[in-house]
Amino acid sequence: MGSQGGFGQSKEFLDLVKSIGEARSKSEEDRIILSEIETLKRRIVEPDIPKRKMKEYIIRLVYVEMLGHDASFGYIHAVKMTHDDSLLLKRTGYLAVTLFLNEDHDLIILIVNTIQKDLKSDNYLVVCAALNAVCRLINEETIPAVLPQVVELLGHAKEAVRKKAIMALHRFYQKSPASVLHLISNFRKTLCDKDPGVMGATLCPLFDIVTIDVNSYKDLVISFISILKQVAERRLPKSYDYHQMPAPFIQIKLLKILALLGSGDKQASEQMYTVLGDIFRKCDTLSNIGNAVLYECICCVSCIYPNTKLLEAAAEAISKFLKSESHNLKYMGIDALGRLIKISPDIAEQHQLAVIDCLEDPDDTLKRKTFELLYKMTKSSNVEVIVDRMIDYMISINDNHYKTEIASRCVELAEQFAPSNHWFIQTMNKVFEHAGDLVNIKVAHNLMRLIAEGFGEDDDTADSQLRSSAVESYLCIIGEPKLPSVFLQVICWVLGEYGTADGKYSASYITGKLCDVAEAYSNDETVKAYAITALMKLYAYEIAAGREVDILPECQSLIEELSASHSTDLQQRAYELQTLIGLDARAVVCVMPSDASCEDIEIDKSLSFLNHYVQESLEKGAQPYIPESARTGMLNISSFRNEDHHEVPMHGLRFEAYELPQPVVPSKSPVSYTPSTELVPVPEPSYSREIHTSTAVPSISNSGSTELKLRLDGVQKKWGRPSYSSGSTSTLESSSQKTVNGSAQTESVSTSTSRAQATSSFDLKKPQVEISEEKQRLAASLFGGPSKTDKRLTSSSHKVVKSSSHTTEKPHIAKAADTALEKPTTVQPPPDLLDLGETTVTSSAPSIDPFKQLEGLLDQGENVSAPNHGAVNASKAPDIMSLYVEIAASGQSGGAVNSVPTNGDDMLSGLSGQSIRTASPGGAAGSSPLSKGPNLKDALEKDALVRQMGVTPTSQNPNLFKDLLG
């Protein structure tokens, strides 16, 4: 077939394509397209255009849009073309429509009818074309219009139609899971379809569904395993082979699903070991696709319940990846290493040099992936090296998206593993300085709170040292030009609270600096507000201490300027400051108690102080408040609206749409917060507001933009010490939090040496010239922990943490050690399983249709303990039949109107029950760190240790932050 077309394509079309192809610049291309638009606008409205010509016009429209110009003038013609009788034209019409329109476009309503008609066509290719369009154009509202037909097509004689019908259902599930909840059992049926294409397509929706609800699909584990096994044994038609690999894309999808199903499920995982082992052996490591399957296997092995043999195989595969010359394979290797390292932390060590090569590679993609790996393997012994590297890299890049990400990672690691206050403050300064306003505001608020609350161990010296070092470093930085706003806010706040606390700097020195800031950043109102509030606090502190306050002239002029500000907030603050200066010491102490930022603000959630006011208003004849949930009128209106919408396309399934609004209605909200929130910060209109403004700053920390709302709920939790880390911005894994806590005790002994080693090697690194030496040193500081135990301690897997605790915490040892030991030791001997697998292979007769077997397997799925399913058992046949009848019945009733409610409800209740169950472990895991908060006993022990050694905690105890954050 020649490339020059010739299939009835007109000269005009050929010329257009040629001229686009020969365009040498974007502007030339634009010129061609613009003149093409003019031509098309004229031509397309001419009467009696031959169909073939019209098709060409439509494709020319596609070109116009593809090259970035608007072709909306021609959309309607594409819509018209979908009505055409000719298959080619119809499909071209559908294609153009799917490329032009999004699912909410007004023209869609004109196509729905055509789609409905085409779904009923005798020509299966027409049905396929319509189903393609269904996947692109049908939105939540129009689903009921085509749903019954799509369900019917699941049983179509042509496999191509069945496949596309499944994908249409998948699409509905993506768009509106509720609309097809009663139909997802169909996917179980189509998984056993005799056509491998249909089975392969079914894996897509099943993957999505299993992701959401693992527990309901545990019975399919055995089916998936058996399919995977048959695929790996080349039982699928040859046409699915790709580069000598049997159906690799299906294998990969299956491995993804198995990883979900086997995660944290020992029993399910054990069934997978054999087939995974087989795939590891069979994969061709010379082809890309073989390695792709291998990589997916590693991912699966690292997700499911661990097995030593498989982990070894995975480690071996990873080392092949890393040793490869191909950057792609290295990338996959680094990624795989990051996954496996959670289970076997030691594995990174053998690959240290390869990892460092990747880190220093000029290829950005590889570098970032390596940073991701380093992030996963950070511990207290290497945090300095890693965070320094990350910051260096952060400074070197321009990509804001990634800069934000890496900045938040730096902050997270620094908070978790900081070896000293000084280092922590310096690191945070660097992050703020270079990532600037990209840093999430919550990070700044967290930092403020950290400085305010200190270590949470009543260790006042350490607290004040942290504050002093913060103040000192901020005073150094404050003069630098163009600091980011977020950072300035932190600086102002800290200087205001603690600037004069240690007596090192005079109030006038610091107020001078603050005035400079307010002047230098005069168009940043937030910074100015922070600055003037800081001034107020400093003056209040001076007045309360009975010292003479002399207002600097620049400060005076700042107050005057802000009193006339356009911002009422700034005005208010300026006036408050002015008034405060005029008060005597006694009043000032009441108004602005020093160091009040850590005091809890009690919030009256029921707003009982308003009762009196409400009562009064009611007596005066005001309407009583109706809670939102009780306002039934609203509901009626919304359901009416829905009715209107759904009347048109399909009244058969109307009830489903009606029920949609219900979950949206808030079940029970006792008081509506929104109108009353603003009242909260100003309960009394006197000076007490000032206390709020000063103390409220840290309370914003976690809330971001919706501070008012957040301040109302769960205040106690946010302020309480134990929950500190759970409130931190970063996406801390609960396991790593535990690590922090658990490793703290043992490391306080060992880290002094380990850290020294790490830092010294890092320092030595710089003067070295020879690259390999340098690399080795870097490797040592990254990977080489001081001792084996330390490495195990700090791995992010929580079971290891538990094992670490038995060195110090005797009372807990029994239980913790048990759970820790259980995992590595109770691994099933794989040889047995493998043997079993071999016999299964030989016993199965090759002449049997593999998909017949699958049908049998669906039934056997219930009988989980019977993996021996080589041949179809004849006695099973009746069961299969009954199963099918059941499924068919439910499928049919899905189409019929009346019986659906019960069916749907059952599915719903079953599913919701499941989801609750699955949710509960997550909740438990989330809350567990709370109970693991700073242990009073540990704190006392540490305090005693520190005193014995007679050293300052800052230099000797690198774990302070961990306890704080634990």
Binding site: M1, S3, Q4, L14, V17, I20, G21, A23, R24, K26, I59, E65, M66, L67, G68, D70, S86, L87, L88, R91, T92, L95, L99, N102, C135, A160, K163, K164, M167, H170, R171, Q174, G197, G200, A201, C204, S239, Y240, Y242, H243, P248, F249, I250, I252, N288, I289, A292, Y295, E296, C299, H327, N328, K330, Y331, M332, D363, T365, L366, H401, Y402
Partner: protein
């Protein structure tokens, strides 16, 4: 979701085929194509065939003058997507016979039809070349 978009772009950065599996406005598409094409064209042969972009990844492969770029979610198997591109090219090769940029330009709709068979809802649904090409061949015969 998996695959978010598939693009074919020549080495001058001109789009030759674009298929998005999530809706973007014309302006968004223009901006996105410009950004990622610039990123990918700047890379050398030895570097990874994967590029991180915003919150997703681009897997790309070059065939003569034509780049195939596939935007995927972060949890997708990059190597498999790389081979998926090759499968697409092999499929087009089988249909057009030694496919080149001009084949795709002159038969844009057919290239799209093949993609429609291979990818639905952003998932790879069909990988058998025979199954992918069957409807297209039937359609050609009937018209």
């Amino acid at each position: 979701m998996g695959i978010r978009f598939i693009l074919m772009v020549n080495k001058q950065g001109q789009t030759r085929l674009a298929q998005y599996y999530e809706y973007l406005t014309l302006e968004e598409r223009r901006a996105l194509e410009g950004e990622i094409v610039r990123k990918c064209l700047a890379r050398t042969e030895q570097q990874c065939s994967f590029v991180e972009h915003r919150n997703y990844k681009i897997v790309y492969r070059r065939y003569a003058s034509l780049f195939f770029l596939v935007g995927v979610d972060n949890d997708e198997n990059e190597l498999a997507i790389l081979e998926f591109i090759h499968l697409l090219v092999e499929t087009m090769d089988r249909h057009f016979g030694n496919v080149c940029e001009l084949d795709i330009m002159f038969h844009l709709e057919k290239a799209h039809f093949m993609l429609e068979e291979m990818v639905m809802n952003g998932c790879i649904v069909e990988t058998s070349k025979a199954n992918i090409l069957a409807p297209i061949q039937l359609m050609e015969k009937s018209s």
